[in-house]
Amino acid sequence: MSGINLRHNPRTSRWMNILFHTFNNAFLLLAMLITLYPVLNTVAISFNDGTDALRGGISIWPRVFSLESYRGVLADEFVFSAFQVSVARTLLQTALNLLLTSMLAYALSRREYVLRKFITTVFVLTMYVNAGLIPNYLLISRTLGLSRSFWVYIVPTMISCFNMIVIRTYILNLPDALVESARIDGAGELRVFWQIIAPLCLPVMATVSLFVAVGAWNSWFDTHLYNAGRPSLHTLQYLLKMKLATTQASSNMAMQTTTALAARAPTTPVTIRAAITVISALPIMLVYPFLQKYFVVGLSIGSVKG
């Protein structure tokens, strides 16, 4: 910190601070406006009458208020069980992934570990090689026999390389002294990890759980591949994805036919799409503040140290 010992005229500095804050707040306000608009717009459309919404032009308040889209989506008798499956998979996947990924990250953060470079490279390369859908499908479905089971949501997603790197980077940034002192006390690696490193990593753990949880909550593709034939294992996102596809598919299906039988779109996609977005994002939204406090407000390392 060589530069900061330069003294400034306190008055100029105060002036600069005010200018900075004004600019900062104005900028953040603008950022909020342009990111809030699409969200409010989607909410407004979701509460609008479907046929009316077709002509567009709704901004942040419904023009003709209606709950039909929500009724249409929530009337499905499988929504509740799908919600349960989604919650279960999200919780379990997040917990397991966090545990295994952070343990691995700790091991690979230790500079003296002889397998460090090898294992890190093997993991990092997974982000850049992709076997394609069919071999992956055959492994999970045929070799491991995980199709048509809940475990297909958990087993293939237990470790994430990107998150491992994120946690590892965070650990490497922690003051070395903390780890060293623990080790001098004679603690084993597991204990150092669990009692010293893990608590210090709460902000990054919160971040990573958010990444994993959002990914788990939003995924529908594994249901589509492995559990499409088992309605009792459908996840909420899959159900909603199907609903969305249904409202959009009717005209596609009309192309297959020469008569009017299938042509009729059962509902109007615009409002259904918006309602589905709101329904699927809401649960994560509600959980968010509990994770957010760890990385936004932060955690004073000094206090842990003391």
Binding site: Y137, W151, H224, T259
Partner: protein, 539 residues
């Protein structure tokens, strides 16, 4: 604390699937794969319950949420076939992979008279190398096909524009665009103050048929499938978009673009924006297929803007050409259910389809239960307002119609022996019931009763017709050419329409050349060969 929470979660998650996995025993559960998205029917669905009572058969449906080709590829690689499967628009992949059993082992005149009578007249067309792998689900017409309105392609125009010009007869693009220009000049804005949009061309994704398809119709041909077939010249095939006879149409579009009738944004708007524009009532005309923009019509009717709804006109290049926009229904080759090699009891399933094809079941599928879903008056099948509303309510449909099963099953269309329409949506009484007073008066001004009367009734189809049913699966080179030509058309035709006045001819030459460099001639000769072979076989 953390550990306790984790173990609790583990236990919770392990219990869930256990509780859900308890299946109740059933005489026969048939797994079904459908290559389109559907909502799962409710577990107490009225019609599926009837089927279970009568046949002891329950269905376990798998619908499609993702990409069809990708999904079928995976099913094939894993040999994960449901008992009965519909490959939808890519069924040829399944046939090619040997997914299906030959149904002719079970379908014959004595064992399955209904199915035999249903398919026998089309057997040459629907079999592949002598085997029947998929039972076509649409296009098998009994008695007469009912046509009240054009559900397919046309040049559409707002009814109020024709009314403003005193109900003229519009036959050619010249007349059509001239009227649009005059109307737009007289009405630069709508009553709501929105700027009038003269002519829209939807180009979003696969819906760009609005840009690509008009010329074949202007030449007096039906929608064959991206090509123009010279019926009078040994079935020579043209990918017609860069031929000399296409130039006048696109040049006309270029001309009216310069005059401000077409807005450049039309080439970059998505489907939602297109529907929004149509629904606002400010679009005077477009080329499209009715089902594609039907939602917009609903929105206009909801605001009682009847004059802004559209009427289809069968434009042709010149008055001596007979329009051929409406074609005879064609049997839906390879689209429907087949039985997979994994199925344990194919005989029982064929027998079920046989029984479902009798008139009682067909009426249940199409119309529902008498007294509940429709009523009969003087031999005519009718619906009360409530019954009509139900039929359009997706939540009700999920509980009271066997939508997915019926969509892919062999079905009767056209007219029943007692004169009613098989498809309730086509029953004339129900159609006229819904017609507005405005529409009735409008049609009267033209001396007509239905919008279909603008069109020449469909002549018989050529034996091969249509090209879009030809399976390109075994010819990867042709599929490459086809894909590439599609990309070139989607890219270059909008640019041509927007070209500066002096540049059109030069750009047209370049476009024509780019197309032929992509292998156009090879593709055309190839299709001609297939058509000649089909005609030989089917005539």
């Amino acid at each position: 604390m953390q550990r306790k929470l984790l173990s609790l979660l583990l236990i919770l998650a392990m219990m869930l699937p256990l509780g859900l996995a308890l299946a109740e025993p059933a005489p026969l559960t048939v797994t079904v794969f459908a290559g389109d998205p559907f909502d799962q029917p409710t577990s107490d669905n009225k019609i599926y319950k009837l089927i279970e009572e009568e046949f002891g058969i329950k269905f376990e449906f798998e619908f499609l949420a993702g990409d069809l080709d990708e999904t079928l590829g995976i099913k094939i690689a894993g040999q994960d076939y449901a008992d009965i499967m519909s490959g939808s628009n890519s069924a040829e992949m399944l046939i090619d992979a040997g997914t299906y059993i030959d149904l002719l082992d079970y379908i014959n005149e004595t064992d399955t008279p209904n199915l035999w009578a249903h398919f026998e007249p089309y057997m040459n067309r629907i079999t592949v190398d002598g085997g029947l792998y998929v039972m076509p689900s649409f296009g098998r017409i009994y008695n007469d096909a009912i046509v009240n309105y054009q559900n397919g392609p046309a040049f559409w125009i707002q009814k109020k524009v024709l009314a403003w010009d005193n109900y003229p007869t519009i036959t050619t693009p010249e007349q059509y665009f001239d009227l649009l220009l005059r109307y737009k000049e007289a009405h630069p804005t709508t009553e709501d103050g929105l700027p009038t949009s003269g002519f829209e061309i939807l180009t979003d994704g696969w819906r760009n048929f609005c840009l690509l398809n008009p010329v074949q119709h202007l030449m007096g041909h039906p929608n064959d499938g991206g090509v123009f077939v010279h019926w009078d010249d040994n079935y020579r095939v043209d990918v017609f978009h860069n031929k000399d006879y296409s130039k006048p149409y696109y040049q006309k579009l270029n001309e009216v673009f310069q005059k401000g009738l077409i807005d450049q944004d039309t080439f970059v708007q998505n489907f939602d924006q297109y529907i929004a524009k149509l629904s606002s009532g400010r679009v005077l005309g477009m080329f499209d297929q009715y089902w594609n923009f039907q939602n917009a019509t609903d929105a206009l009717i909801a605001r009682q803007m009847y004059g802004e709804t559209y009427i289809g006109l069968p434009l042709v290049y010149s008055e001596d050409i007979t329009d051929h926009y409406i074609d005879q229904p064609v049997i839906n080759v390879n689209r429907g259910f087949g039985i997979s090699v994994n199925c344990k009891e194919p005989k029982r399933i064929v027998d079920m389809f046989e029984a479902l094809l009798d008139d009682r079941w067909q009426t249940i599928f199409h119309w529902g239960i008498e007294g509940e879903d429709y009523y009969v008056e003087n031999g005519r099948y009718l619906r009360t307002a409530e019954q009509k509303a139900n039929a359009e309510n997706p939540v009700w449909v999920n509980a009271n119609k066997a939508r997915a099963l019926f969509f892919y099953s062999p079905k009767k269309e056209g007219t029943m022996d007692n004169g009613n329409s098989w498809d309730p949506a086509l029953q004339p009484e129900l159609y006229f019931d819904m017609m507005s007073e405005y529409d009735k008066e409008f049609l009267t001004s033209y001396g007509m009763k239905t919008p279909a009367e603008f069109f020449t009734p469909a002549p018989p189809n050529e034996p091969y017709y249509p090209v879009w049913q030809i399976d390109l699966q075994p010819y990867p080179d042709m599929r490459d050419i086809n894909t590439q030509m599609g990309d070139i058309q989607a890219r270059d035709l909008p640019r041509l329409i927007m070209a500066a006045p002096g540049e059109f001819d030069g750009m047209w030459e370049t476009f024509a050349k780019t197309m032929s460099d992509a292998g156009q001639a090879e593709y055309e000769v190839f299709l001609q060969g297939i058509i000649l072979e089909m005609n030989e076989r089917l005539r």
